[in-house]
């Protein structure tokens, strides 16, 4: 009867984490057996990520479409609504996200060049930017507005509204920015996972950086969505 691996006492001790013998170390990574090369696997992963990003764009397109329809129906309520938003917080968050997008792209470049320190640094800055974005959003926008009763739908209790459709404006506002903020959190978690694997296993380098690339793609998508949400909500009045 054949023995299974775990029962074999003569098995060598597993290599320590982070050593260049560990299977997760980037130089030790091959590719799945159903691909012909690592390059092919990378391209397939990237295509899969782009297909997923397409569904994400369609998800947000629903909100953009609702925005367009309701805006053309109730232009005054939309004008009043956007006057409740302070463009300075929106612009600040735009700059935070653009900067973090740059560090995410730089993180991919660092991985491609095998610069581990730069990769870690760029990932840390990106995650800090994500936290700053969420902080600004909650502290200066959501909490203040909800405290004043500028809430979506039937939660709306702001007594100084000017237009019957203002609750609708807030529904679109919270749905759009809330879904976006959720994506910011998910993107930060993905990049955090990449950071963890980089620090602990040294898992990404010139021949294997698929997850750095796909997580960065996700992060750039978050950035693009905000590039469109910012003028639609804060600047157009």
């Amino acid at each position: 009867m054949a023995t299974i691996d775990s029962q074999r006492l003569d098995m060598p001790a597993p290599p320590p984490r982070g050593s260049d013998k560990h299977p997760l170390f980037w130089k030790n990574r091959g590719h799945a057996h159903h691909y012909r090369s690592a390059a092919e696997e990378f391209d397939a992963c990237k295509l899969g990520m782009w297909l997923f990003l397409a569904t994400e764009i369609l998800l947000f397109a629903g909100i953009f479409c609702a925005y367009t329809v309701f805006r053309s129906l109730y232009p005054e309520a939309w004008a009043a609504g956007s006057h409740h938003l302070d463009w300075r917080f929106g612009a600040m968050n735009t700059i935070v996200l653009l900067f973090s997008s740059w560090t995410a792209a730089s993180a991919v470049r660092s991985a491609q060049l095998g610069k581990r320190g730069a990769l870690i640094g760029n990932l840390v800055i990106t995650i800090i930017c994500a936290a700053a974005f969420i902080f600004i959003k909650l502290k200066f926008e959501y909490f203040v507005k909800l405290g004043l009763g500028k809430a979506p739908g039937t939660w709306f209790s702001y007594p100084y509204a000017e237009h019957p459709q203002e609750p609708l404006w807030w529904s679109i506002y919270y749905m759009g920015t809330g879904l976006h903020a959720l994506h910011v959190i998910i993107g930060a978690c993905l990049l955090g996972w990449v950071l963890f694997r980089t620090v602990r296993y040294n898992a990404y380098g010139p021949t294997h950086y698929t997850m750095v690339e796909t997580s960065a793609l996700y992060w750039h998508l978050v950035d693009i969505i905000w590039i469109f949400l910012f003028p639609l909500l804060y600047l157009i009045h």
Binding site: R36, S37, A38, A39, E40, K46, L47, W50, A54, I57, L58, A61, G62, F64, C65, T68, V69, S72, E76, A77, A79, A80, H83, W87, A91, T94, F99, S101, W102, A105, V108, R109, Q112, L148, G153, T154, W155, Y158, P159, Y160, A161, E162, H163, P164, Q165, E166, P167, L168, T207, A216, L217, H220, I224, I227, F228, F230, P231, L232, I236, H237
Partner: protein
């Protein structure tokens, strides 16, 4: 055991038979974008952000300084075209589509075509419905109109998470204002040692209501209110505006027909930018305002009539 693929018959440049696992391919042949390019793109994106904010503020300034109302498309076109440029930069360089396989670009373009399928027909319908049948202009099936919530959550299959007050025939925003006014009147009455608020208390509460709003909102926004008379004048006008609007909203909607399809009058009212336009002016209703304020159809649509479009 080695498995035999039919690679021999279909040679693939990406597959190196001498190195099937790609161990010697240092960078998969992928383009590494230079640091200089990345920095240039970041600076361009920041520049466009400042530009779009500047344009938006400039429009507000022009409108306030010269008392003109710029057409909507100026604002929309300016902001959205800059957003498209920024998005293109991110996609092309940060996401690397410029150097990538064309298939990924195809996925994105196909997706954007689908987005256009969402938005363009919806917009076309809203803006050109009257080209087909002129009388259908501005008639929108009820939905998100902010009309009264006559039904509470009782009798629902599931517990409603949101509070759903019975506002009767009133729109929600009117209901919330009256709620706050009652609350303030109660506070004022308690201050004077009365159990019930009398008319005097209510008047004081109403005054406090607007001043409270001034303190919380308008003051921060830097509205140039010079003295208290101006403030009173402003609120008097504003409230008058509210009364007219409420009349417009409720006139065409009989309370019993609230559950049914009704014609929204939102499109009939005068387009206005911002909340402080004509703050200190004596507001004479312009001829065009009168024209728009009167709904074309005084009698609301019957439910069967409204369901067709």
């Amino acid at each position: 055991m080695e498995r035999h693929h039919d690679d021999r018959h279909t040679p693939n440049p990406a597959f190196d038979t001498m190195d099937p696992h790609g161990a010697t391919h240092a960078d998969h042949g992928h383009h590494i974008i230079s640091a200089r390019t990345l920095m240039a793109i970041l600076l361009a994106l920041l520049f466009f952000t400042i530009l779009t904010v500047f344009l938006s503020r400039a429009e507000v300034w022009v409108q306030n300084t010269f008392s003109v109302v710029l057409p909507q498309w100026v604002n929309v076109l300016g902001a959205m075209s800059i957003a498209v440029v920024k998005g293109t930069l991110v996609v092309a360089f940060f996401m690397g589509l410029r150097y990538d396989k064309p298939l990924n670009l195809f996925v994105l373009l196909f997706c954007l075509a689908a987005v256009a399928q969402f938005i363009i027909p919806a917009t076309l319908d809203l803006y050109t419905r009257d080209w087909v049948t002129a009388e259908h202009k501005g008639e929108i099936i009820k939905g998100g109109t902010g009309e009264g919530l006559a039904k509470t959550g009782e009798g629902h299959m599931f517990v409603r998470a949101s509070p759903r007050p019975n506002t009767g025939s009133e729109p929600l925003f009117e209901f919330r204002r009256e709620q706050r006014l009652e609350e303030l009147a109660h506070e004022v009455a308690a201050k004077h040692g009365r159990a019930e608020a009398n008319d005097e208390d209510k008047a004081e509460a109403a005054r406090e209501f607007w001043f409270e709003h001034y303190d919380e909102e308008l003051h921060e926004k830097g509205h140039a209110i010079r003295h208290l008379d101006d403030l009173e004048d402003f609120y008097a006008q504003w409230r008058k505006g509210h009364v007219t609007m409420a009349a417009e909203t409720t006139d065409t909607v009989a309370p019993e027909s609230l559950e049914e399809t009704t014609a929204s009058t939102a499109n009939h009212s005068l387009r206005r930018v911002g909340r402080t336009l004509g703050l200190f002016d004596a507001q004479a209703p312009s001829p065009s305002a009168e024209e728009h304020a009167t709904p074309e159809r005084a009698v609301p649509l019957s439910p069967t009539e409204g369901e067709d479009h």
